[in-house]
Homo-oligomer: 176 residues x 3
Amino acid sequence: MRGHHKKSLLYVTREGPSCKDRPDYLWTIRLEWFIIKVMKSLTKELWFETRKKREFINITPQVADLVRESGVQEGLCLVNAMHITASVFINDDEGGLHQDFDVWLEKLAPHEPVSAYRHNVGEDNADAHMKRQIMGREVVVAITRGELHFGPWEQIFYGEFDGQRRKRVLVKIIGE
Amino acid sequence: MRGHHKKSLLYVTREGPSCKDRPDYLWTIRLEWFIIKVMKSLTKELWFETRKKREFINITPQVADLVRESGVQEGLCLVNAMHITASVFINDDEGGLHQDFDVWLEKLAPHEPVSAYRHNVGEDNADAHMKRQIMGREVVVAITRGELHFGPWEQIFYGEFDGQRRKRVLVKIIGE
Amino acid sequence: MRGHHKKSLLYVTREGPSCKDRPDYLWTIRLEWFIIKVMKSLTKELWFETRKKREFINITPQVADLVRESGVQEGLCLVNAMHITASVFINDDEGGLHQDFDVWLEKLAPHEPVSAYRHNVGEDNADAHMKRQIMGREVVVAITRGELHFGPWEQIFYGEFDGQRRKRVLVKIIGE
C-alpha cells in the first residue's frame, strides 16, 4: 500500500428547533479524500547456530521475505550482526570466493598464536573481533517498489567468525 | 518544503426543502489547516565506466544534486555500489592519498598471482572483492536542512577495483 | 509519543438570514480523530579532543540519551565520524581488545616511515586515513520501542587515529 487513503464523510445533523414547514433533515457531505503516506516499520531478529567456527550463510531469502511482510514500498532495510565477532556483508554467492575470504581474513588477522592477543585472557576470539571489522557489522539496503533494490550479484551474508553457539542478526525496516 | 500544508475548504450546501421565507443558501466554512510532514523518497542509479581497472571518482556533486532534487529537508541518503567488486566510501579528495590507497590495497589483497585465489576460475577479480570489503559497499549520509551534512573534508567516492565496463551506484534518499 | 492525535472540532455557524421562528443557532460537530504517525528527526554534533594521537572512546551513553531526547520509538540512528582520520564503530568495551586493535591497525597501516606515503607532504596522517577505512566511518543502529536495539555486548566507539585536536561525531535520528 503506497499510502493511506482516508475517506471522511461528514454527517451534519440539524439539532436546533426545526422550521415549522419542513421536518428535520440530514445533510451528507463528502468532505474529501486525505492521502497520507504513513511511516511503517518492521523489526525481526534472526537466529543462527553454525556448525563450524567460521561460516558464511546467505540470508537474502529471509530478508527479502521480511521486506514483503513489512509492506514497505520505499525505504531502507538495516541488517546487522548483533554480536561483535560476526558480520553482515554483501558480496557474491560463490563458494570459491568464500574460501578465499576465509584464507585472506586468517592472513590479515590470524587466530593463532592465541597468546598474541591481550583480549585472549580466558578467551580465544580476539581475531574474530578483527575479522568482523574488516567484513563490517551491517548493511543498509534500499527498498524500491516493495523489493530489496539489488545490483546483479548482490547477496546478503551472515559471516560467523566465532560460532558454534546461538547468535542473532537484526533486521529493521523503515519506510512508507 | 518542510511539510505539507493542506487547506481544506468545506462547502455546505443545503439540499433539503428550503425555508419559505428565504432562498437556498450556501455556507462556506474554512475547516482548518492540516500540517502534515509527509515522508518523501528518491531513487536514482548513477552509471560509470572507468578507463582504468582501478579508479576513484568523486561523486559528491551528483549526490548533492539528487538531495536537492528530492526536496528532503531532514533524512538519510544511502549511496551504495551495486556491484560487488566496487565500493562507495567517504574520505579526502587528495590525489596523493588515492595513490596511497591503491598501493595499500594492493598490498593487503594483491591481484597477482591470480592463481592464488579459488574464485579465479575463468575470472581474475577475487582481489577486487576483497579490496571492496576493506573500503566498504556503502555510506549513509545525514541530510540536514536540505543538504548533505558533511564534516570539513568529507567527500563521497566511487571506488572501482575491476573496471572498464559499465557499473552502477544506487542513491536512495528518504526523509521529510 | 507514538503518533500525533489531532482532534478536529468543526463549528458550523449559520450565517444566512434566519428562519423567523427561531434564532440563529450554532452547531458543534465533532468531526473525528486523525491518528497520524509523523516522522521525527534529531541532529546533534558531539565534540571530542583526545589526549593521545590514537584513542577509543565509548560514546554509547551520549547516543542513548539523544535517542530518548528525540522521542523516536521506531527508526534508525546514524552515528558517523565527521573527520576522515577517525571512525565510529561497534565492538566490545574491553581494554585488552582495544590494545589489540591498536597494534593490529598499526601492522596493517603503519604510521612510519611517514615518507612511505605520497599524502604525507606537510602531513603525517596518511596511515590514519587507512586505519579509518578498516574500522569504518559510521554505524546505523536500529531504534526499537524508544531505545537503541543492541545485541548483548554492542557498544558504540569513537576511534581517533590522528587526534589531539577538536573533532566531531554526527548523530542523526529519524523515525516515528
